[in-house]
């Protein structure tokens, strides 16, 4: 009996330790973001509490000086187009692959499958030349097109769902005179709603957090997305940890809100997305 109690205590202790490891670095950054420049210079240590817990001065300077407004705007545009495109393209591909038998079908499937194994980071050296030759370098189109074109995970998620939709529904619609496109639009697409939610969440978080593609393809300052704009804090605010911290908190906050409100769907989405 006592052995069990000891085991239980150890389990809780390990959970509390893990919680501290996760939350402490984040909490300290939150504290730092609320301190004034003077408090930072006084050197009260990273763990000291800010004098004025409602001092949002750093947030204002991070938001304005870091051009976070335009960063959030650019991110929103990219999110809108690339998620819309991914949903359309993924569901169309899944519909075509699952509902038709045609020549080279196996080849098409193999092309998508093999592409899933190629890590995007490795091919950017050559992809860069192609994006450049289309004149998309340093425009919002580069990330939009790249996010749309390389998402095999969402095709896979859609495929699982299309397969679970009974073919008798297609047949009934066909008897009513519906063509393939009408069937896709009126029968399949609406039934894909759960899959669409999954793809929107997984894709949305990936795009919101991506650093690599915008950093490589959109060097212009006015084309900053939240990752690259935050990265630029490194220059002008190099030693101003209070401002950098405020910027980091500004970027983390939307993720936290989305996570807290959609928790269950996010877990499901990632389990579905990650096991491909």
């Amino acid at each position: 009996m006592t052995r069990r109690a000891v085991a239980r205590t150890l389990v809780y202790l390990s959970l509390i330790a893990a919680t501290l490891v996760v939350l402490l670095p984040l909490g300290v950054v939150l504290l730092t973001s609320l301190k004034s420049e003077k408090e930072m210079a006084d050197g009260g240590g990273a763990l000291s509490l800010p004098d004025d817990p409602l001092n949002f001065h750093n947030y204002v300077s991070a938001f304005e000086g870091g051009e976070m407004l335009s960063a959030f705007g650019n991110t929103a545009v990219i999110l809108l187009f690339s998620i819309g495109g991914t949903v359309l393209i993924g569901s169309m591909t899944a519909y075509a692959i699952d509902r038709f038998t045609f020549r080279f079908r196996k080849l098409v499937v193999a092309l998508f499958l093999i592409a899933a194994l190629v890590p995007g980071v490795t091919t950017q050296v050559a992809t860069f030349q192609i994006v450049n030759s289309f004149g998309m370098f340093d425009s919002l189109w580069a990330p939009i097109v790249l996010y749309m074109g390389t998402d095999i995970v969402s095709i896979y998620i859609f495929l699982q769902f299309v397969r679970s939709i009974p073919i008798s529904l297609d047949e009934a619609a066909r008897l009513d005179g519906a063509g393939a496109f009408t069937i896709y639009r009126k029968v399949i697409f609406p039934l894909l709603r759960p899959a669409i939610a999954t793809v929107v969440i997984v894709k949305g978080i990936t795009v919101y957090n991506d650093f690599y593609i915008p950093f490589l393809y959109m060097p212009s300052e006015d084309l900053g997305v939240i990752s690259t704009s935050l990265f630029r804090f490194k220059g002008p605010y190099a030693a101003h940890w209070e401002t950098i911290s405020a910027g980091a908190v500004l970027v983390i906050l939307p993720t936290l809100i989305v996570f807290l409100s959609l928790q269950r769907f996010i877990y499901n989405g990632f389990m579905r997305g990650a096991t491909r």
Partner: protein
């Protein structure tokens, strides 16, 4: 829409052989079959165009560049054979990045063990379970640049880590990111912090898909928690663990964001990807960079192939 394309396809087919007499109008059944044959392609044009343009053409080009000394801009490029490849494996300063991957590989072991432990204990009845679950998973969702800054401050002189240590009476003047060994260890630690949650959630999902009666039956047979883990959970989640191991290996080799944001590859922390990007975009050695990328790609494909052999995974087939 289908009709238009079908007609143009038809017409261009006739145009290819102008000498032939005008073909008789196709019988309705043949037209129907033709239309059915074209319909899937109408849905696939856009995805396939994107896939080929942004995945397969780059790979083909990269293979071609890797055999040249191209600088990425000038129209001039000379065929150098496998020269770039021998350079990668013989020049010590280029080869060194593989040792950096070792830190991330070691970190993945820590990460997988921790994820397994927390997934197991949180699959049993624990108070505040959802809270702990959320806390452990949340870092995975945070923006990489924000994580980089959080941990730059964490390892800063007089930053979070030093302050915590001084709480315990240990006053360090250690520059955490100052030497290659300590910097790489710190950076690999950050990736454990960042990615442990996703492994944890995957394992948790796999454990929860094991039917609950198994535990009850085992408990009746007098099995304790360790027996339950050893004989029920471990075999049940083996496929997911193998998958995670593979993903960790390719992840360790292609580590980029955290080291790039935090150190920019300074003090011996440059990883394979950082080096490749520097070669390509800073030193204009597109040929050499392409060869490096091809090497990385081949390693990752090999690792994946080995995994498919070890764990034939039926979830992976698309059809």
């Amino acid at each position: 829409m289908a009709d238009v394309t079908e007609k143009t396809a038809f017409r261009s087919g006739a145009g290819a052989a102008p000498a032939a007499p005008a073909p008789a109008p196709a019988p309705p059944r043949r037209r129907l079959r033709l239309r059915r044959g074209i319909t899937p392609w109408l849905f696939l044009i856009a995805p396939l165009a994107l896939l080929i343009t942004f995945t397969y053409v780059p790979i083909a080009n990269m293979a071609a560049y890797s055999l040249t000394d191209w600088d990425g801009v000038s129209p001039e490029l000379n065929y150098t054979g496998v020269g770039n490849y021998t350079e990668i494996f013989t020049r010590e300063d280029l080869f060194r990045v593989f040792f950096v991957s070792g830190y991330y590989l070691a970190a993945s072991v820590v990460q997988i063990v921790a994820a397994l432990y927390f997934a197991t204990i949180l699959s049993f009845n624990v108070r505040f379970r959802n809270f702990f679950k959320g806390v452990l998973f949340f870092p995975y969702l945070i923006n990489g640049v924000a994580i980089g800054f959080v941990f730059l401050y964490f390892f800063q002189d007089g930053g979070t880590l030093d302050s915590v240590l001084s709480l315990f009476g240990y006053h360090s003047d250690h520059a955490w990111l100052g030497t290659p060994v300590s910097a790489n260890t710190s950076l690999a630690g950050v990736s454990v912090w960042r990615y442990m949650g996703v492994n944890f959630v995957l394992f948790l999902g796999a454990i929860q898909s094991i039917p609950g009666e198994l535990y009850e039956a085992a408990e009746l047979d007098g099995a304790n928690r360790w027996h339950q883990f050893r004989y029920i959970i471990a075999p049940g989640i083996k496929p997911v663990v193998t998958l995670t191991v593979i993903l960790s290996i390719s992840g360790s080799l292609s580590a980029f964001e955290i080291p790039y944001i935090m150190t920019g590859g300074a003090t011996g922390t440059a990883t394979f990807v950082i080096q490749t990007l520097n070669l390509a975009f800073r030193f204009n050695k597109t040929g050499l960079a392409s060869a490096a990328a091809i090497v990385l790609l081949l390693i990752i494909l090999l690792v994946t192939w080995v995994q498919r052999r070890l764990v034939p995974d039926d979830r992976v087939d698309l059809v």
